[in-house]
C-alpha cells in the first residue's frame, strides 16, 4: 500500500509514518502543497492521499482542486486530515471535490490509520504491475 502524506507538522508526520510503516505501508511525504503536487505528477501510482489543509506554499484546498481537476489523479482515494472542523471548511472540502475528512484531534492514531487504509481499498491501483518507484522522501 502506497500512501502519500501531505502534512507540514513534523511531529504528526513522524507519528503517522511510524503507524503506517508498522502496518507495512510505503509512505511518501510532502511538507507543502507544491511538493505534494510534484510527487503526484511524477509518481501518480499512489493508493491513497492523506492531505492536510493548512500548508505552506500551496494550501490543501488548492491542491485538492488541482487533484480533482486531473483526469489521472482524481480517481485516487483522498482523505483530508485536518484540525479545522468549521462549516466553512467542510463546505470548501465538498466544493473542491473531497469526500472524506478526519479531524486529527478527534481520533487516535490507530483509528486514523485504520480509516485511511479502509478508504484506500477503493483504489483502482490495488494490484499494480509496474515496479515501485525509487522516490522516497
Amino acid at each position: 500500500m502506497r500512501i502519500l502524506l501531505i502534512e507540514d507538522e513534523k511531529m504528526l508526520v513522524a507519528a503517522l509514518r511510524e503507524e503506517f510503516q508498522r502496518r507495512k505501508c510505503t509512505i511518501l511525504t510532502a511538507a507543502d502543497g507544491e511538493e505534494g503536487w510534484r510527487i503526484l505528477s511524477a509518481y501518480p501510482v499512489i493508493d491513497v492521499i492523506v492531505l492536510d489543509l493548512v500548508l505552506p506554499k500551496m494550501d490543501g484546498f488548492e491542491l485538492l482542486k488541482k487533484i480533482k481537476a486531473d483526469k489521472k489523479l482524481k480517481i485516487i482515494p483522498l482523505v483530508v486530515l485536518t484540525n479545522l472542523s468549521d462549516d466553512t471548511t467542510i463546505s470548501a472540502i465538498v466544493a473542491a471535490g473531497g469526500r472524506d475528512y478526519l479531524v486529527k484531534a478527534d481520533y487516535t492514531l490507530h483509528e486514523v490509520a485504520a480509516k485511511v487504509l479502509d478508504i484506500a481499498k477503493r483504489s483502482v491501483f490495488q494490484k499494480p504491475k509496474e515496479p515501485q518507484s525509487p522516490i522516497m522522501l
Binding site: 511531529m11 507519528a15 478526519l102 486529527k104 484531534a105 480509516k115
Partner: protein, 243 residues
C-alpha cells in the same frame, strides 16, 4: 481560504494536542519499549488530561460560534431510534465500569425519521449520558425512553444520581455553571456541556428540558420535530461527510 480568529486559534491548539495524543498512544502501546505498571499509569493520566484539553478546545469553539450567533447545523434525515440505540451501545463500557445499569424502554426497530444534524444530536445525547454517569454515586440506574407524538419525538434520560438543588435549577443551562453538589464530588467538567446541548436543540427546532429531585435523580428530555415528506424519502441516504 480566510478563517476567523477562533477557527485558526482552535486549529493551532488542536495540532500540538493531536501530536501529544498520538505519541502518548504509541508509548502506551509499547512502540518505544515495554512500560512498567507505574509508567503506564502516569502516561495514561497524561493521556486523559490531553483528551480533556481537546474536549475543552472543541467546546470553546462551539461556544464561541453560539455566542457570536454564527452557529450552523448540517441537517440530514436519519432514523432517530437507530441512532439512540447505537448511543446506548456506545456508552455501555462506561456505564458498566461505573456499575450503572442502563435500561432501554423503547423499540429500536421503530423508524422515526428526523431531519437534524446527527453529529450534533449525538453530542447532546453523549452529554446527557456523561452527566448521568458522572453525578451518580456507587452505581445506579439510567432509564432511556423514546416517546413519539404526531409531529415530534422525545428522548428521556432518567438517572438516579444526586439531582439538582432547587436554587440552582435556573442556572444549569448557563455557560460555565457547575452545581454545588457537582463541585463537591470533584468530577471533571467545564460547565459547557448543557449550555451547548440546549443551543443545539434550540437551533434544531427542538427543546431540552429537565425535572429533578435532589438526592433522587434527574430526568432530561430532548425533543425534535419529526421529518416530513419529502425529507423522509431520503432517510437512508448516506452522508458524504466526516468519517
Amino acid at each position: 481560504m480566510k478563517f476567523d480568529f477562533v477557527t485558526i486559534a482552535s486549529h493551532q491548539l488542536r495540532t500540538p494536542l493531536s501530536a501529544m495524543k498520538w505519541f502518548l498512544e504509541m508509548l502506551i502501546a509499547g512502540n518505544a519499549g515495554r512500560l512498567t505498571g507505574r509508567q503506564r499509569e502516569f502516561i495514561s493520566e497524561i493521556y486523559k488530561s490531553n483528551e480533556r484539553m481537546i474536549r475543552l478546545v472543541n467546546d470553546l469553539l462551539i461556544v464561541s460560534k453560539i455566542t457570536q450567533k454564527n452557529f450552523h447545523l448540517s441537517p440530514h434525515p436519519f432514523i432517530f431510534e437507530r441512532m439512540v440505540a447505537s448511543m446506548v451501545k456506545e456508552v455501555k463500557p462506561i456505564t458498566q465500569s461505573a456499575q450503572i445499569t442502563v435500561v432501554s424502554k423503547f423499540d429500536p426497530t421503530q423508524h422515526t425519521c428526523v431531519n437534524a444534524d446527527e453529529d450534533k444530536i449525538r453530542q447532546v445525547i453523549r452529554t446527557l449520558f456523561d452527566n448521568a454517569v458522572r453525578y451518580m454515586i456507587d452505581g445506579g440506574l439510567i432509564v432511556v425512553r423514546i416517546e413519539r407524538k404526531n409531529h415530534s419525538i422525545a428522548l428521556e434520560i432518567q438517572d438516579t444520581g444526586v439531582g439538582i438543588p432547587p436554587q440552582e435549577r435556573s442556572k444549569i443551562f448557563q455557560q460555565f455553571f457547575r452545581g454545588s453538589n457537582v463541585v463537591r464530588m470533584r468530577t471533571e467538567g467545564t460547565g459547557l456541556g448543557l449550555f451547548i446541548a440546549r443551543a443545539i436543540m434550540v437551533a434544531s427546532g427542538g427543546s431540552l428540558r429537565f425535572t429533578s429531585q435532589e438526592g433522587k435523580g434527574s430526568t432530561f428530555r430532548m425533543s425534535l420535530p419529526v421529518a416530513q415528506p419529502p425529507q423522509t424519502h431520503s432517510c437512508e441516504q448516506p452522508v458524504p461527510k466526516r468519517r
